[in-house]
Subunit: 415 residues, 2 copies
């Protein structure tokens, strides 16, 4: 098994050198061919997906998980369109970041290069197979995919289609490899494949992220864990605050940029909370309030200590009163995950204090945290949202999948 | 012990929030005050250093290690001047990397911020204490230092001087903390201090780097390991090639950007090798040659398999013949550490092939690999040379010690 992994790593290495020298047109041709091939193979992919779904139902997978796992023609077309969009984006490789000459005449060019071999460990959704492959291919990186066992047949079907299409346009099929062995041991071995993997990106729930951080010896970018707060300041526009909280909580509660907790300034709690409750009840949001907020709400539960810093991924919202912006910042410092945080206020000074002090990938003034997303930021597409501070923060687009090197041209200079 | 570490981490966190909001002037005042204080305390520092040296002699430390450990007035003035130079550099924090407005009116500002808490694990040289503290302070980062036991008294003396000086100008002393417990257990616990350490930088030999990569669960930047090659192409200017190899090998053999192996094109081996040998013998460089090169040399040893990819850190040079630039690239791919690689050639096409294909932080055409250095690249100062591809590659200057965040300003936008 780990022998297979070594073989996979060797094939990846061989493909890496070819892909690093492949020009933009050839990469785009491969992406477009792969997109067409996905659509053409929709029936076979759906047939394999149905086997996964049947096994999932047998194993008692939840309805939500079955929904994430399910593929239909529309979803496959969505995957193909995603690949076409990535083909249309600018090539992030070969970009000159800096160019300068030193007093001794050495000419330095700092130029972007692919990272090399990127491994992605992910869970139920088979579209991650196509998304990750496309983003890595466009950025000149070879990808080793390790999806969840629930989706193994779907992932294999998708990966095979991609590999054939890539091979048919003359690039190495091994630009995309899927590990068919979904055992935990192989995943752990992948996390320790130093020399074979240049970057590991986990995409999934908190348990997966934790396991990767604990076990990986290869470089990792943590993604996803998002416990986002919205702070409603005493100087907030109340109607705006209600709409922002409503949107951040209810537009898609299962995602990492959804709001999990509202912090409300004590001077405005009495005005804000009943209005917010009325709006949130349209979507049957359950409220978990601290003692101070509880009295302002018609139908809340008492929050317990577990509610602070919790990622519900559901129509549940924690509500807590704070004395001022400093207490809001302290709360976020303690319970936030460094993903997205928001202040609603008309007071420019308070807003700047919040922006400067809150330590998160994205800090919002008067807008929903739901905007933290590669597409919404204009990056085109993303492979995840980084919540760590090394390498890249926030949405990981094509550019974030590159490294750089210094090219130094001289005329015989010695030191 | 790990209890102490938790206390250190808590103090670091408290200092982090203050330092992140400290303006450039205040940080520079602290750096200049610390530089002056180091000079003023030179005698006490030297007295403590002498205790380390005495203990080192008793424990049989090599002359080279004792030299790296030794402090005198000139070296202390050098440390102080280094801090003053860092004070004079531009503040890397608060720099706007990008600023743009989305079609929905959201205004995005991508701005540099400190990474947070940086831990540095290092070995014998006490000047790393002052260098690391200064670079971290200027970049708004709090530093936790863990030096080697050989230098503990010197490091404590230096750290105490820095802390007092920083405190005296009104910044938290805990911007700089030194772990006094030099046990391996505490070092390992530091490597696993997730939540308390945002970045760990190991500075030292291959053993230390390996231990950190294997054990750390916090984000790491690998530094230092450097096995650099110089490839002498058939179209090389021979005199230039000789001088570049001579400089790259002999100007300072103990450092990571020194040349360890010369690859020579077979068409030029007969002309190049005797000339190179003559020059290298001025510094008594021992040559370890493959069979093909051996015949061209007057006084070489036969290389063994162990010689390929070895970092000698000494006046020893491996010599190997290759058929062409492709074989040189293959060799570097197999044995290089991604640090610095050089081609000597007058053929522009061959040079570009080498530059494009060699996967290293710095790729040279017609210049000595010894230039890979923060000062030589114009970064001012460096905390190490990254040989990994994530976050930063090559010299780690002030800018490489920052992260960024997205500030998003809206007017109530929801998604």
């Amino acid at each position: 098994m780990s022998c297979d992994l070594m073989a996979i790593a060797h094939r990846a290495k061989a493909a890496e050198r070819i892909l690093a020298l492949t020009d933009t047109d050839a990469k785009n041709r491969a992406l477009l061919a792969a997109a067409d091939a996905l659509e053409a193979a929709a029936e076979e992919i759906i047939a394999e997906n149905e086997k996964d779904l049947a096994a999932g139902r047998e194993n008692g997978l939840s309805a939500a998980l079955l929904d994430r796992l399910a593929l239909n023609r529309a979803r496959i077309v969505g995957m193909a369109d995603g690949m076409r969009q990535i083909a249309a984006l600018e090539d992030p490789v070969g970009v000159i970041l800096e160019e300068f000459e030193r007093p001794n005449g050495l000419h330095l060019t700092k130029r972007t290069v692919p990272i090399g071999v990127i491994a992605v460990i992910y869970e139920a959704r088979p579209n991650v197979t196509a998304d990750s492959a496309a983003l890595c291919l466009k950025s000149g990186n070879v990808v080793i995919l390790r999806g969840g066992k629930e989706a193994i047949r779907s992932n294999m079907a998708v990966a095979n289609v991609l590999r054939h299409a890539i091979g048919a346009v003359g690039l190495p099929e091994d630009c995309v490899q899927l590990i068919e062995d979904t055992s935990r041991e192989t995943a752990t071995a992948l996390m320790k494949l130093n020399g074979g993997v240049d970057l590991l990106i986990p995409r999934g729930g908190a348990g997966l992220i934790r396991s990767v951080v604990q076990n990986a010896t290869v470089p990792v970018i943590e993604t996803g864990a998002g416990t986002c707060q919205t702070y409603v300041d005493k100087d907030a526009d109340l109607a705006m605050a209600v709409e922002i909280v409503y949107n951040a909580k209810t537009s898609r509660p299962s995602v990492c940029n959804a709001c999990e907790c509202v912090l409300v300034h004590r001077d405005i709690a009495g005005a804000f909370l009943p209005a917010a409750e009325k709006r949130l009840k349209e979507k049957d949001v359950a409220l978990r309030a601290d003692d101070a907020c509880y009295g302002y709400l018609a139908q809340a539960d008492h929050a317990s200590e577990d509610d602070w810093g919790r990622e519900y991924n559901d129509y549940i919202l924690a509500v807590r009163q704070v004395a001022d912006v400093e207490e809001a910042i302290d709360y976020i410092d303690q319970f936030g995950t460094g993903h997205s945080e928001c202040i609603v206020t008309e007071n420019a000074q308070t807003a700047e204090r919040f922006v400067r002090c809150v330590d998160a990938a994205a800090v919002y003034v008067n807008a929903s945290t739901r905007f933290t997303d590669g597409g919404e930021f204009g990056l085109g597409a993303e492979i995840g949202i980084s919540t760590q501070k090394l390498h890249a923060r926030g949405p990981l687009g094509l550019r974030e999948l590159t490294s750089y090197k210094y090219e130094i041209r001289g005329k015989g200079q010695v030191r």
